[in-house]
């Protein structure tokens, strides 16, 4: 066991490392998106700043920092200032319960690859998601601008609707793992490599599809980006925001994308486990042994980020009534079918 001050110090260190890595990943996801969408549209994307445009995120950051921070006169100031903080805070908060690697790699009994190991990790993520609506809703309302208000109304309605399908799609996974702990859910999928992942061997492909679709809607990404549809709403809920406050919304969106990628990896693609299971014997070197799981985890999250950008470059935006109809009439019933099906299978073949 470790002393309490060692525990506190280790926790602060873990939080710092995870936050720095997450924010760097956010910056480079933006670059990845611009590059990939560029290639999808047959152009190069950013290529001038640094080799292959690799320093572009740095240039963007400096630009956003140095821009004049304008606060329009008509806004309701307390909420106008709080909204980007809520959005970014919620986006960074949910990564705290994500385990990045196996829980048997410890330092004097303290787990190294997750900030907090909770019995109800999955519910915490759902809770933070449901709170994060306020960032967008309040931003639009306090801006005192019709485009902002319309954007945030759309966002709230969309997020409430799709949260239901999102939550229901996870029930099948929880049923299989018989636990709400994320580490436990991964452990169930680690037995036979790719064959025991929830999305293949677990038979949760319907749930996987529903989760991904609903998560795209929750993060307001294409094809569900109606809250910021620039052709109709200029900028949506962040029309009146500039400089770092705008950047905070932007960072929140990408941090949410990464969290969704992490959660989808944990719930459906076996988390940090290798797709080959025990076919490849575990390496003897302790350092390599610790970092192989991280490699698989990052590779799977990268796959989800790539998918996000690919979908954005391919699928056109929904119409509003299509969006609502799709969520309520198809995704929610499909999620219920999945729950009933999974329960039946579990009851017949225990």
């Amino acid at each position: 066991m470790i002393l309490w001050w060692q525990f506190a110090l280790l926790s602060i260190l873990k939080v710092a490392v995870v936050t720095v890595i997450l924010l760097t990943a956010v910056a480079y996801t933006v670059l990845l998106e611009r590059k990939l969408v560029g290639r999808i549209q047959n152009r190069w994307g950013p290529s001038r700043v640094g080799p292959f445009g690799l320093l572009q995120p740095l240039a963007d950051g400096i630009k956003l920092f140095l821009k004049e921070d304008m606060i329009p006169t008509g806004v309701y100031k307390p909420l106008y200032l709080a909204a980007p903080l809520i959005a970014l805070g919620c986006a960074l908060l949910s990564i705290a319960v994500v385990p990045f690697g196996p829980s048997d790699i410890t330092w004097h009994g303290a787990k190294l690859f997750e900030i907090a190991d909770l019995n109800i990790g999955l519910l915490v993520i759902l809770g933070v998601t449901s709170i994060s609506v306020y960032g967008i809703a309040l931003a639009g309302w306090s801006s005192n601008n019709k485009y902002s208000l319309l954007g945030s109304l759309r966002a709230s309605a969309q997020m409430i609707s799709y949260e239901l399908a999102l939550g229901l799609s996870l029930v099948g996974v929880v049923l299989r793992a018989q636990s709400l702990s994320l580490a436990e859910i991964v452990k169930v999928q680690s037995v036979h490599g790719i064959l025991s992942w929830n999305v293949f061997g677990g038979g949760q492909f319907l749930a996987f599809f529903i989760y991904l679709t609903a998560a795209y809607a929750e993060t307001n990404r294409a094809p569900f980006d109606l809250p910021e549809a620039e052709t109709e709403l200029t900028g949506g809920y962040h029309t009146e925001y500039s400089s770092m406050k705008f950047a905070m919304f932007f960072m929140a969106e990408y941090a949410n994308m990464i969290t969704v990628g992490c959660v989808a990896t944990l719930l459906f693609l076996g988390g940090w486990t290798s797709p080959f299971g025990d076919l490849i014997p575990p390496p003897q070197n302790i350092i390599i042994h610790a970092f192989v799981p991280i490699f698989w985890f990052v590779a799977k999250v990268f796959f989800f980020l790539f998918l996000y950008i690919w979908v954005r470059g391919t699928v056109p935006r929904f119409r509003y009534d299509q969006l609502m109809g799709y969520g309520w009439k198809y995704l929610v019933p499909a999620a219920m079918v999945n729950i009933v099906g999974t329960s039946l299978v579990m009851a017949v073949f225990p």
Binding site: L79, G127, A137, L138, G140, L153, Q178
Partner: protein, 166 residues
């Protein structure tokens, strides 16, 4: 540790509740209510009810209050105005609140005798324990409640439908 956290979040809870009453703008009141709900969730957590705490955040602080703020935003409700009704509300409201508080307190104190009690920092009730109670021992009341809610939803839909429109 538990006591300190309890005091902090109980203070948050009360401050939120008082602020809810004092604010004149509906959106500020709604936001104070979110503070109350979230602090309640922390209090549940301190008592070892982790599932209840998560449900409190997801359902109340998340879904229910989002609907409140959504409606406030949709109707663009302005500041509260003083009317004749508010005088009456002040006159009758305080005694009524005291009476309701008294009734609830008596019921809770009465129920403690045969339901048992928890203390701060008690052992955590796991989700499995909770669902075993809910779906084994209390299955019938639980299902009846869900049917009741379904009936309420159907009633609301029937009321909201315009007459002669179909």
């Amino acid at each position: 540790m538990h006591l300190a956290l309890f005091l902090i979040f109980a203070a948050f809870c009360l401050a939120g509740a008082i602020n809810l009453l004092l604010q004149t703008h509906p959106i500020n009141s709604a936001l104070s209510l979110i503070v109350v709900m979230s602090s309640l969730a922390v209090l549940y957590l301190l008592l070892g009810a982790e599932f209840l705490a998560a449900a409190q955040i997801i359902v109340y602080a998340g879904a229910v209050m989002v609907l409140f703020t959504f409606v406030v935003m949709l109707l663009n409700v302005g500041e509260e105005e003083k009317t004749h009704g508010s005088k009456v509300a002040k006159l009758i409201g305080f005694p009524a609140a005291v009476v309701i508080l008294g009734v609830i307190a008596t019921i809770i104190i009465e129920a403690q005798k045969h339901l048992g009690r928890v203390a701060l920092g008690d052992q955590v009730t796991t989700t499995q324990d909770l669902s075993r109670v809910l779906f084994h021992e209390l299955l019938l009341p639980f299902e009846v409640t869900s049917v009741l809610i379904l009936i309420a939803i159907l009633g609301a839909v029937a009321l909201a439908r315009k007459e002669g429109h179909s």
